[in-house]
Amino acid sequence: MTTVDDRPSAEIGNRRLRKEDQRLITGRTKWTDNITLPGMVHLAMVRSPFAHARITSIDTSAAKEAANVIAVYTAADFPDGMGACANAWPITPEQVTPDHLPMVGERVACAGEIVAVVVARTAAQARDAAELVDVDYDVLPAVLDGLEAMKDEVLAHPDKGTNKSAFWKLDSAEAGTGGNVEEAIAAAREDGIVIKREYRQQRLIPAFMEPRSTVVDPTGEQVTMWTATQIPHILRFLIAATTGMPESKIRVIAPDVGGGFGGKLQTTPEEFITLAVARRLGKPAKYTETRSESLVSAHHGRDQYQKLTLSATKDGTVTGLKVELVANLGAYVAIVGGGVPVLGAWMFNAIYKFPAYQFNCQTVLTNTAWVDAYRGAGRPEATFGIERIMDELAAEVGVDPLAIREKNWIKHEEFPFTSVAGMTYDSGNYEAATARAKELFGYDELRAEQAARRESGDPVQLGIGVSTFTEMCGLAPSRVLGSLSYGAGGWESASIRMLPTGKVEVITGTSPHGQGHETAWSQIVADRLGVPFEDVEVLHGDTQVAYKGLDTYGSRSLVVGGEAVVRAADKVIEKAKAFAAHLLEANADDLEFSGGRFGVKGTDQGIGITDIALATFASHNYPEGLEPGIDADATFDPDDFSFPHGTHLCAMEVDTETGQTRMRKYVCVDDIGNVINPLIVEGQVHGGLVQGIAQALWEEAVYDENGTLVTGSFVDYTLPTAADTISFVTENTTSPSTTNTLGTKGVGEAGTIASTPAVVNSIVDALRPLGIHDIVMPCTPERVWKAIQSAGSHDGETTTEAQPHFDEAAPNNADPGSTGEGNAQ
């Protein structure tokens, strides 16, 4: 038995290298595509090249005759269907929700939709034969853009009669959480400041590293599906719910999964089709997508038009915020597609004390890939809008962007604080994070350099961008989800098995896909039970092993799933205590548990918890009336969200001759509560920052006017690499969360949420003296240069075609805060 004496005094807070990294990095592990089963067949999908078309005929005869082809199926071959890609969160009872079937037979509603599947002995033969499937289409008019869809001139689904899916509203006056926003705006028009801005959240592609892959084994009593998913438990439930298969006959395994970023928070057509084909043929079947297929047909993210109206007094004290969103859902309302923009309802008000607030969200259907969660999911969009417009307010008042924030943010002594959107922020200290960030950044020095460059007319100008973000994470209190008509709860489950050899198995209902749960959960349990880190094994992602869980997304795993682990561990200790008392012939009240050992107070007598595990295995001697065993399960349902926050500062050099931007310095100080493993946190923050910076500078999914994805490969979808980033300075301040025992908040999405507005603010800050107050994302050198050109040609007026103007009737200019006129583009 391993001794416990040489363990570190505390695992929590240790920079442990990740247990899982060797196998993940070398690929010598169970990625779904690495799985090969006896007699396995391979699938290739036939996808529509058109965004919107009626299928007039499908001829599969040539494909069926190709070498080693076993079958070719169309939707007609499955008259009882193959299940359905469900929408789990109808945001209103009236929501227009087109049926989303895995394979369509009559009409395709977006490019990449599957119309046939070829099954062959090898993947190459399946791919070859897929080229031989001859599909005739009548091309229909397609609607691609969210604002175009609002007009209802071209319909994404003509049978629905409208593109408008749902309208969702939160009004602080109606909800009783604040005042009337229209009155606040009217008052500010009389004697204050009203700023109106329109921002574009471009469409992004999650672009996880491991393409999606599914293997189904229909042999045996249970059908087993291995799939590259974030949500094995939810998938199992939805397979049962939509195919009629008994849930008990389905086992879903998410083996090692290579990234998700929300992009694998979905039940996909490919999963349902692979399942249907395997069951039809009685043979194991595999489908692995190509990168090209992934970019076209895995769900996309973001894609919002935002209209913001902010009112304030003349000194810059905010009085109201009105938000109007148009969110493009793509062709179908995906699993939480409608809900993602609605998550912004509680986040646009951010860390500021708005007395009045209104959030309006209209979701629309278009003939594009469906849109759903992408790292941050609704919160980056909101944070971008508010952090951009707070900079506009600062400029209007003529003060530093940090000063306008400080004037309006919640002071640290005001926590817990109930926001105008009705959320109770449990803890935070914006002053502390900001002060530390300024110090690390050299804020005053960089401001001085900026002034000097402006003074000298340096062709390379310097901009400083600020983002003081918060987010709600730890999805989610089940009762809150119930009140929003969400189709599931937000609890999480954990089990701990105390093995007789002293090893410990921790079973979690969360489903890691790169986060490092195996390491972090081991650290938590090592401390809690007083066992060595190495002796803890974390099991996950298999509905037969972790039979209960709600998976991984929304920065929930640690704050919800980690708390479940803590509670299971505490139950183990509680159970073990009775055995310890019995074996030590002591009164349980006289025992104290520390360092993995129950000791009798005031004596040197004691027994280790792993010795108790062995004793209960043998069960030769245990208390009357107790079951032999100290294993325990726990389910944790949080009472509230947790609210990480942070101050991000970005210094950007802008080459006014070319429009090129070059990041000089990036500092972030995040308050994510207590930290289990600082190394994992740094990794999450670094990766998150790059993803957020990428939205600001590099990434956009672009369709041409026919609905063909132009950014269909990484040649055009310009994903950054390490060569494009600088060394970030990341630190933490700590205000422990009060909503879980560990005091943790979420960190998985923080960097992504915060960095996008910091970067855009930095570019705008560099160019603001030219009269520029926005650049559309991604801020390409061309867009920056054109903004500079048109600003120059209008002698400082803000007439730049790079600035967004979505509605010709309502140009994108501030009301009294206007510095120029908009021109539509």
Binding site: A124, T658, Q660, W698, S713, P720, D724, P781, W785
Partner: protein, 283 residues
């Protein structure tokens, strides 16, 4: 990402490679594969036959030949980067190749493969053109030599016929010439949005001769002839260079795409040419 089926030949001599090409109406030559393999895997092309030059030793290597250096068509970028002859006599080529993609690609990709692929956004065309290189082409009728100015015919089209092979690049020595390659991209691994290859021979503070090649300013690599003429024999003042380089985009017809429209590229060509020339003259 599985290519369609194809026949495969891996000859060990140029003669055998030419015979393999003559044998098919629809053959593609595989050099380093950094462009061809993605094209095959995405099924943008499905040739009947692939003739792989990887085993032909005579196509690799760099040697001196009188007043020129000769680079075998199958020489990898990485080998060119470390070669002392290239550094001494064709600094411009080295400067351009340093910017190509990433280390993996520079170890697999070959200069000949890139030249024959003739993507106008590729980085070797402009320096080869600016250095007045000659391209040695082998075919059924024997060997011929084509000046770089006549080599690039159109988008993805060169003087190399279906039954021919590019075997070597012969670059006149530009010993002592200053050189710079200014590449403009949004992310590091991207194809050039615009790039400028400039090399100059100085005579004291004055510019005796200048050669300027443009990447992705038309369907082929181009020479900025107006700029070259204005620079040649000029005093090399900052003002003079700025004026000359402002002419760089004359006569070009750059593409418009997600990275920028034609006007923006013309503007970039001017700025980048000035920066490249200033760098080449050592300022």
């Amino acid at each position: 990402m599985i290519p369609a089926a194809f026949d495969y030949a891996a000859p060990e001599t140029v003669a055998d490679a030419l015979a393999a090409l003559a044998d098919s109406d629809d053959a593609k030559v595989l050099a380093g594969g950094q462009s061809l393999l993605p094209i095959l895997r995405m099924r943008l092309n499905a040739p009947e036959k692939i003739v792989d030059l990887g085993k032909i030793a005579e196509l690799r290597g760099i040697r001196e030949d009188g007043d020129a250096i000769v680079i075998g068509a199958m020489t990898a970028y990485a080998d060119i980067l470390t070669d002392p002859l290239v550094a001494e006599h064709a600094a411009l080529l080295k400067a351009a190749i340093e910017t190509v993609a990433d280390p993996q690609i520079r170890h697999r990709g070959t200069i000949g493969g890139a030249l024959v692929h003739a993507d106008p956004a590729g980085d070797v065309g402009a320096p080869v053109l600016a250095l007045d290189a000659e391209l040695v082409i082998a075919g059924p009728g024997g060997e011929r030599t084509v000046a770089a100015a006549d080599f690039f015919e159109d988008l993805f089209t060169t003087a190399v016929g279906e039954d021919e092979l590019l075997t070597a690049i012969r670059i006149p020595k530009h010993t002592g010439w200053g050189a710079a390659y200014e590449k403009f991209v949004r992310v590091a691994h991207q194809w050039s949005i615009v790039a400028v290859a400039a090399t100059v021979r100085m005579d004291g503070d004055a510019i005796a001769e200048a050669r300027v090649g443009l990447t992705n300013m038309g369907s082929t690599p181009l020479r900025a002839t107006a700029t070259e003429a204005a620079l040649a024999g000029s005093a090399g003042t900052a003002q003079g260079i700025a004026h000359a380089c402002g002419l760089a985009a004359e006569g070009t017809s750059p593409p418009s795409d997600l990275n920028g429209d034609a006007d923006y590229r013309r503007h970039l060509a001017g700025v980048l040419t000035r920066r490249a020339v200033l760098s080449a003259v050592g300022r």
